[in-house]
């Protein structure tokens, strides 16, 4: 394929090992490690201040790690900055353009830094978002600025797309279109080889896109899982009894809630054994369901 550089297929898109970074005495990232395999959509989930943006900035060589290492397609972003930047595109949480440039001029300016630029996709997306190429960037709404930034990130057809809180502060329609564009226009171009690395705390709307994730808290990875495996592992069991909830020993439950005759258990693995145990008390009704990624996020950070 044009522009594809020879490389080992198994080289991860991103490899972060023991990354640390501090602002003065405040440690933002404290020994973070994660690996993003090629072709995956990888989520970095965390609360505000968990260290997501700092990690992203280290990845883009906007900040220098204090210790640990980052590799993008096997390259060091600080030492091989140009080579790394030619392989990735980035949509930041705060989009800024030169206000005096029009949308057309902004895109041309950004295209001038790129080896390739897909004009067909550019036109499709301008139409889809209803953007006026003659409009000055200074007059664009926050949503429109993000849309222009997304067009500029999709058109170079890079192997890696990095998104930092891309949809926070946008209205639901723009958020929806944003994700559809990443799935459609971006993923379409790479025949399964496009990698997406997205940091967000708006987990629900990315649920279908993310196939692997790391939950980061206090600058450390607290949970890394495959999305399907996570939903299989985290289970909510609900039961109702004829009389009060029995005093059962529910070892292994992540969380137990009782109210009158009702019992709710959140299990992190071992749901089958817990289910069996609950059944021994002969509930009137019992049901199970998987936790969604956002619920897993909350359960992990509140546990």
């Amino acid at each position: 394929m044009i522009g594809e550089k020879p490389m080992n297929d198994t080289t991860p898109a991103i490899q972060i090992e023991n990354l640390t970074y501090a602002y003065g005495h405040t440690e933002a990232v404290r020994g973070l490690s994660l690996t993003v395999p090629r072709g995956r959509c990888y989520g970095l989930f965390g609360r505000n201040g968990a260290g997501k943006t700092t990690t992203m900035k280290c990845l883009l060589n906007l900040l220098r790690p204090h210790s640990g290492s980052i590799q993008v397609f096997g390259m060091n972003p600080a030492k091989q900055e140009v080579a790394v930047k030619s392989r990735l595109a980035y949509v930041p949480d705060q989009v800024a353009f030169y206000p005096w440039m029009t949308v057309r001029e902004t895109l041309d300016y950004l295209a001038s830094f790129r080896e390739r630029w897909n004009r067909t996709i550019e036109q499709d997306l301008l139409n889809r978002f209803g953007l006026d190429p003659a409009q000055k960037a200074g007059g664009l709404s926050k949503g429109q600025k993000t849309q222009v930034a997304l067009i500029a990130a999709v058109c170079p057809e890079t192997d890696l797309l990095v998104l930092d809180e891309p949809t926070s502060g946008l209205d639901p329609i723009v958020r929806r279109e944003f994700i559809e564009t990443v799935i459609g226009a971006y993923q379409e171009t790479g025949s399964g080889e496009r990698t997406v690395f997205v940091s967000t705390h708006l987990i629900a709307e990315f649920e279908g896109l993310i196939d692997q994730f790391t939950i980061i808290d206090g600058g450390k990875a607290v949970l890394t899982l495959d999305s399907d495996a996570a939903r299989e592992r985290y289970t909510r069991i609900r039961a109702r009894f004829a009389n009060a909830v029995p005093e059962a020993e529910l070892a292994g439950a992540l969380r137990v809630r009782k109210d009158g005759r009702e019992l709710e258990i959140v299990a992190n693995g071992g749901a089958a054994q817990l289910l069996e145990k609950v059944r021994q008390y002969e509930p009137e009704f019992i049901s199970t369901e998987a936790l969604r990624l956002e619920e897993i996020f909350v359960a992990t950070l509140k546990a």
Binding site: I183, G184, Q187, R292
Partner: protein, 134 residues
Amino acid sequence: MIFQVNYSSGKPIYLQLVDQVKAAAASGALRTGDPLPSIRPLAEELRVNRNTIAKAYSELESLGIIETQPGRGSFLRENHAALKKDVRRKLLTEEIDQAIVQAHHLQVPRNEFLTLVEERFDALEQKRRAREEK
């Protein structure tokens, strides 16, 4: 065909799509030669990773349920029952086990469950006959 994704089912997303096509084929909602949605629009509509849809389709292809014609799309195959007997039995066993577990939860006893199965067979057969007469 309209797909639905349920993140609370605990079943991998691609498998949910595979099962929905199987169910549609078995019930006649999807007939031989009927096209399946193309990968990109379906991925956008469900807001599901494109690779997940591609994985579901390639699974359906390897099961012989659909065929993909380059440039034309994917279609339900004529002889989609060409699954090996033990594979078919295995697929069905999993579904039956789930239904039995559910029956247990809802305290529907064995006899009642089996009667219900008979009733459903009759009901679906009647539906199919009614459709064929049209």
